[in-house]
C-alpha cells in the first residue's frame, strides 16, 4: 500500500444545536479504499463536506500529501484533486447528461459550446465506465440510479483527481451496477488514487475496502484492517450491539387470509401487462434490476401517474384511482424511493412533514393543534430512533438516513391498510434497518399488507412472504419465500425473453 496522502486530525464542527464532529480523524493512503462507516447522523457526510470545502471546519488540521491545506470553497478542493460523489443527488435536472458532466469546463469553439465535442467526450467517458446512457438525455427523465451513475461519471471526469470520495453510492444501485462500480473503483485503486467509500451495506465492506474507519456520534472510534476484521465487530463498534438478521424460511401469512389488493393487466409506457395480488398481513417483495418497472408499476397503483389500462381491486371491489388522493382514500400509501423529489418538504419542519398526510387527525375544526402534532412526531422519533435536536428542526438539516426515517413516520402516521415501500431502507444504518424490519413485520402482524420494492436481495429474503420478480416492465417470476434464493431471483430478473413463468406453490 502507498503513502499516506490524507490525514485529518482533531476536526471539530458544530451546527446550531448539533455538535456534528468532535475530534474526528481520518487517514487515507494512495491506492487504498478506506471505508467510512457509522450510524445515521454519525457525521460521515459532514466530515466529507469539510474535506471538500463545502463546510468550513471549526477546528482541526487537514494534511494532503504532507502539506497542511485550508479549503475555502469546493473549487479549492477540486483544484487539489479531491472529488466527491454526493449522497444526495446534485444534478441540474433540466440539463442533459453531457452538460451536467462538463458544466464549467465545456469544450468551446470561440465563445460557443462545442456540443458535438462535449457529447463525444461524454460518450467516451460513459463507455470507459461501461454505463449505457445517451449523453443527450435530459437528467430529469432518468431514474435515480441512472442519475447516480451520471454523478459518478462526473466525479471521474476530472483527470487530476487524487482522492475520490463516494458518499453512499450503492444505496440506489442494484447488484449488477454495484459490480460495475466496484470494477472501476478497483481500476482507480490500481492507478494509485486514494478512495473514501461510505456505505451502510455491511456486505460490501469485505468486497471493496482495505481498511475501515468507524465513527460514532461525531467521534472517531477506530480504524481496522478489513482483512483481519469480522464484520460483526464493525457493527458492534458502530451501534454498540450485535445485530443478526435471519432470512425468513416460510411465509407468515395465514392460509385463509383474504386478498386485499388485486391488480390485473396493468399497462403503461414502462409497465407491460402486470398482474398480481396481495393478501392481508402479507409482505410482498418486488425484485428486479434498475429499470425493471417496479417503481413505475407502483406509481400507477397509487395514482401518481396515469395508467393506460388495467383494473385495481381493493378488498374485492374495483376502485378508480386517478390521483394519489384517491389511492390514500382507498387505504393505499406509497413511500417514494426519491425522498428529496417526491417524499419530503425539506424546507419545513419534521413535525409538519410527519403530520402532512393526515392533518385532520391533529386538528380541531379548521385549526392545527401544534402541541399534539409535535407530541406525535416525537413519538415516531423515539419509535424509530430518528436523530434530531428537536421536532421543529428543518428536515433539510437532517442526515440522509434520518430524512428517510421521516418519510416512514409520515406514512406510519397515515395508517393506511396497504403500504407500498419503495426502497424503504435506502441509506439507513444497520441498527435502524433492523428496527425498520421489525416495524414492518409488526405492521404485517397487525393485519396491514405491505408491498416492498428493494434492490437488496438479502433484505427481500429477510422480510418477504412472497417475491415477485420483474424485468423490463414485465413480471417474470413469482417465488414463495420457502423456495426463493438470490440465484433464483437473479435468473428471473435478467430473464428478458420469458413472459410469466410461475414457480410458486
Amino acid at each position: 500500500m502507498g503513502d499516506v496522502i490524507l490525514k485529518m486530525t482533531g476536526i471539530e464542527k458544530s451546527f446550531p444545536g448539533v455538535h456534528a464532529l468532535s475530534q474526528a480523524q481520518l487517514e487515507v493512503r494512495a491506492g487504498e479504499v478506506m471505508a467510512l462507516v457509522g450510524e445515521n447522523g454519525a457525521g460521515k457526510s459532514t466530515l466529507m463536506k469539510v474535506l471538500t470545502g463545502i463546510y468550513p471546519k471549526d477546528d482541526g488540521k487537514i494534511e494532503f500529501f504532507g502539506k497542511e491545506i485550508e479549503l475555502r470553497s469546493p473549487k479549492d478542493a477540486q483544484d487539489l484533486g479531491i472529488c466527491i460523489v454526493h449522497q444526495e443527488l446534485n444534478l441540474m435536472q433540466h440539463l442533459t447528461v453531457a452538460e451536467n458532466i462538463f458544466i464549467g469546463r465545456e469544450p468551446v469553439i470561440g465563445p460557443f459550446v462545442n456540443q458535438r465535442e462535449q457529447n463525444r467526450m461524454t460518450t467516451e467517458l460513459l463507455e470507459s465506465l461501461n454505463i449505457d446512457l445517451n449523453p443527450k438525455r435530459v437528467v430529469k427523465t432518468l431514474s435515480v440510479a441512472k442519475q447516480q451513475m451520471v454523478e459518478i461519471a462526473k466525479a471521474l471526469s476530472f483527470n487530476n483527481t487524487k482522492l475520490l470520495i463516494f458518499d453512499e453510492p450503492s444505496a440506489v444501485l442494484t447488484d449488477t451496477e454495484i459490480d460495475d462500480l466496484f470494477r472501476f473503483i478497483n481500476q482507480l485503486k490500481a492507478d494509485g488514487l486514494g478512495i473514501i467509500y461510505i456505505s451502510h451495506r455491511m456486505d460490501e465492506l469485505k468486497r471493496i475496502s482495505d481498511r475501515i474507519t468507524v465513527m460514532r456520534d461525531g467521534q472517531y472510534v477506530d480504524t481496522l484492517v478489513t482483512a483481519n476484521t469480522d464484520i460483526d465487530e464493525v457493527v458492534r463498534l458502530m451501534v454498540g450491539r450485535v445485530i443478526y438478521e435471519e432470512p425468513r424460511t416460510h411465509s407468515m401469512v395465514a392460509p385463509d387470509a383474504p386478498t386485499v389488493l388485486e391488480v390485473e393487466h396493468l399497462n403503461s409506457l414502462d409497465v407491460k401487462d402486470v398482474s398480481f395480488h396481495l393478501k392481508k398481513g402479507e409482505i410482498l417483495g418486488f425484485a428486479g434490476l434498475v429499470g425493471a418497472g417496479r417503481t413505475e408499476t407502483m406509481r400507477l397503483i397509487c395514482g401518481a401517474d396515469p395508467k393506460d389500462s388495467g383494473t385495481i381491486r381493493v378488498n374485492g371491489k374495483e376502485v378508480r384511482i386517478k390521483t394519489p388522493e384517491d389511492a390514500v382514500r382507498n387505504g393505499i400509501g406509497y413511500l417514494s424511493e426519491d425522498r428529496k423529489r417526491y417524499g419530503l418538504c425539506i424546507g419545513r419542519s419534521i413535525t409538519e412533514n410527519t403530520v402532512l398526510t393526515d392533518l385532520g387527525k391533529v386538528s380541531k375544526g379548521l385549526f392545527v393543534n401544534d402541541r399534539k402534532a409535535d407530541r406525535i412526531s416525537q413519538d415516531y422519533i423515539d419509535k424509530i430512533k430518528t436523530k434530531t435536536p428537536s421536532t421543529r428542526t428543518l428536515v433539510r438539516s437532517l442526515s440522509g438516513g434520518n430524512q428517510q426515517k421521516i418519510v416512514i413516520s409520515k406514512w406510519l402516521f397515515k395508517n393506511c391498510d396497504i403500504l407500498i415501500f419503495d426502497e424503504p431502507t435506502r441509506g439507513i444504518d444497520v441498527g435502524a434497518k433492523s428496527e425498520i424490519y421489525h416495524l414492518m413485520t409488526e405492521l404485517a402482524k397487525e393485519g396491514k399488507s405491505i408491498i416492498m420494492i428493494s434492490s437488496e436481495l438479502p433484505e427481500l429474503l429477510r422480510l418477504s412472504d412472497r417475491i415477485m420478480v420483474m424485468c423490463e416492465g414485465k413480471v417474470t417470476g413469482e417465488l414463495d419465500i420457502a423456495e426463493a434464493s438470490q440465484e433464483g431471483i437473479m435468473r428471473f430478473a435478467t430473464d428478458r425473453n420469458v413472459g410469466v413463468s410461475k414457480n410458486a406453490g
Binding site: 394519489p324 392533518l359 392545527v368 397515515k414
Partner: protein
C-alpha cells in the same frame, strides 16, 4: 443563547421600520404628527389587503399579477351597481368582494386545473379584469358615496375615518389576525406551505393539490376584493383602465416582509411590516420634499436591500457556529 440569536434576526424587519420612522421624524418636515401617522395608516389599507392575499399565493410558489386591475375592476363594478344600477350600498359592497373572488377562482382554475404558469395566467386575467371594468362601465369613471352623501354616507365612516378615528385600522387589524390564523394555524395554511416547498411530495401524500391551489387564489381574490373597498373608501372616484402597477405595491410589501419568491416560506407578520415600511418610506420621503419619482426609486432600493438582508439572514441561520 441560540434561540435569542434567531429571535434577534426575526426582529430585524420591525427594527428597520422603527428606525425609518424615527429617522423621518428627525429629518422630515412635519412628519412626526398624528396626522401623518393617520395618513400612513390610511394609505396602507388597500395595499395591506392586497399583500395579505398575495402572500398566500407567493408561498405556494405562485404569483399574481392581476391584483391591481382586479382591485380596480371590483371597485368599479361596486360603484357602478350602486350609482348607476341603484343597488343598496351593502349589496354593492358584497359585489365588490365577489368580483375579486371570481377573478381569484378564474386564476386558480387556470393555474391548478389547466396547469398554466401563474405568471402567464394572471397576466391574462390582469388584462381581462381591466377590460371587463371598462366594458361594463362604458369607460365612465364611477364614484363611491362621500361622507356627506344622503345615500350611503356611512361608507367612509365605516371604512376609513369616523370622528377623526382611523377605523380602517381596525378592519386591517381584524383581517390581519384572520390572515395570520389561516396561514399559520389552519390546515389550509399547512397545505399552502407544503405545496410551496414541494408540490409533488404534497400530491403524493394524498393532498388534493389542485383543490387547495384554487382555494388559495380564491382566498387571495377575496382579499383583493376587500382591497377594492378600501381603495374606494380612500379615493372615492375610480377610473376605468387604471390599476395597472398597483399589484407591484402588494407584491413588494410581501417581498420586503421576507416572503420568498421561491415559495415555501414567509409570514403574515412580515408582510404587514413590509407594507408599513413602504408607507413610511413614501410619506417620509414626501415630508422631506422628495417627489414621487424619488419615492419610487427608494422603494426599489428597499426591495433589493430587503431581499439581500433576507439572504444574509437565512445564510447566517445556516452558518456554522463554534460551540
Amino acid at each position: 443563547m441560540l434561540g435569542k440569536k434567531i429571535n434577534l434576526q426575526k426582529l430585524l424587519a420591525p427594527v428597520v421600520l422603527v428606525i425609518l420612522y424615527v429617522l423621518f421624524s428627525i429629518i422630515g418636515n412635519g412628519f412626526f404628527t398624528t396626522d401623518t401617522l393617520k395618513t400612513i395608516l390610511e394609505s396602507s389599507y388597500y395595499i395591506g389587503f392586497m399583500a395579505f392575499g398575495v402572500t398566500f399565493i407567493i408561498i405556494t410558489g405562485g404569483i399574481d399579477l392581476s391584483l391591481g386591475t382586479v382591485m380596480m375592476c371590483s371597485a368599479l363594478l361596486g360603484a357602478y351597481s350602486f350609482k348607476v344600477a341603484g343597488w343598496p350600498l351593502a349589496l354593492s359592497l358584497v359585489l365588490t368582494v365577489a368580483v375579486g373572488v371570481m377573478f381569484g377562482l378564474v386564476n386558480g382554475v387556470f393555474v391548478a386545473k389547466l396547469k398554466l404558469p401563474p405568471f402567464i395566467s394572471t397576466l391574462g386575467t390582469m388584462m381581462m379584469a381591466q377590460g371587463v371594468g371598462s366594458i361594463i362601465t362604458k369607460v365612465q369613471s364611477q364614484t363611491w358615496p362621500t361622507s356627506t352623501d344622503p345615500l350611503g354616507g356611512w361608507f367612509k365612516k365605516v371604512f376609513i375615518r369616523y370622528n377623526g378615528m382611523p377605523v380602517g385600522a381596525f378592519w386591517l387589524a381584524a383581517f390581519f389576525i384572520i390572515a395570520v390564523l389561516i396561514l399559520h394555524k389552519s390546515k389550509f395554511g399547512r397545505y399552502v406551505f407544503a405545496i410551496g416547498s414541494n408540490e409533488e411530495a404534497a400530491r403524493l401524500s394524498g393532498i388534493n393539490v389542485e383543490k387547495w391551489k384554487i382555494m388559495v387564489y380564491a382566498l387571495s381574490g377575496f382579499f383583493v376584493g376587500m382591497a377594492g373597498i378600501f381603495y374606494a373608501a380612500a379615493y372615492t372616484t375610480i377610473t376605468p383602465g387604471t390599476g395597472n402597477g398597483q399589484e407591484m405595491n402588494g407584491i413588494t410589501g410581501a417581498v420586503i416582509g421576507g416572503v420568498s419568491m421561491a415559495g415555501g416560506s414567509g409570514s403574515m407578520v412580515g408582510t404587514l411590516i413590509g407594507v408599513f415600511i413602504m408607507s413610511v418610506l413614501k410619506n417620509g420621503l414626501a415630508s422631506c420634499g422628495l417627489q414621487a419619482p424619488w419615492q419610487t426609486f427608494f422603494t426599489g432600493l428597499v426591495v433589493v436591500l430587503a431581499v439581500l438582508l433576507d439572504n444574509y439572514r437565512t445564510r447566517a441561520a445556516n452558518r456554522v457556529r463554534k460551540s
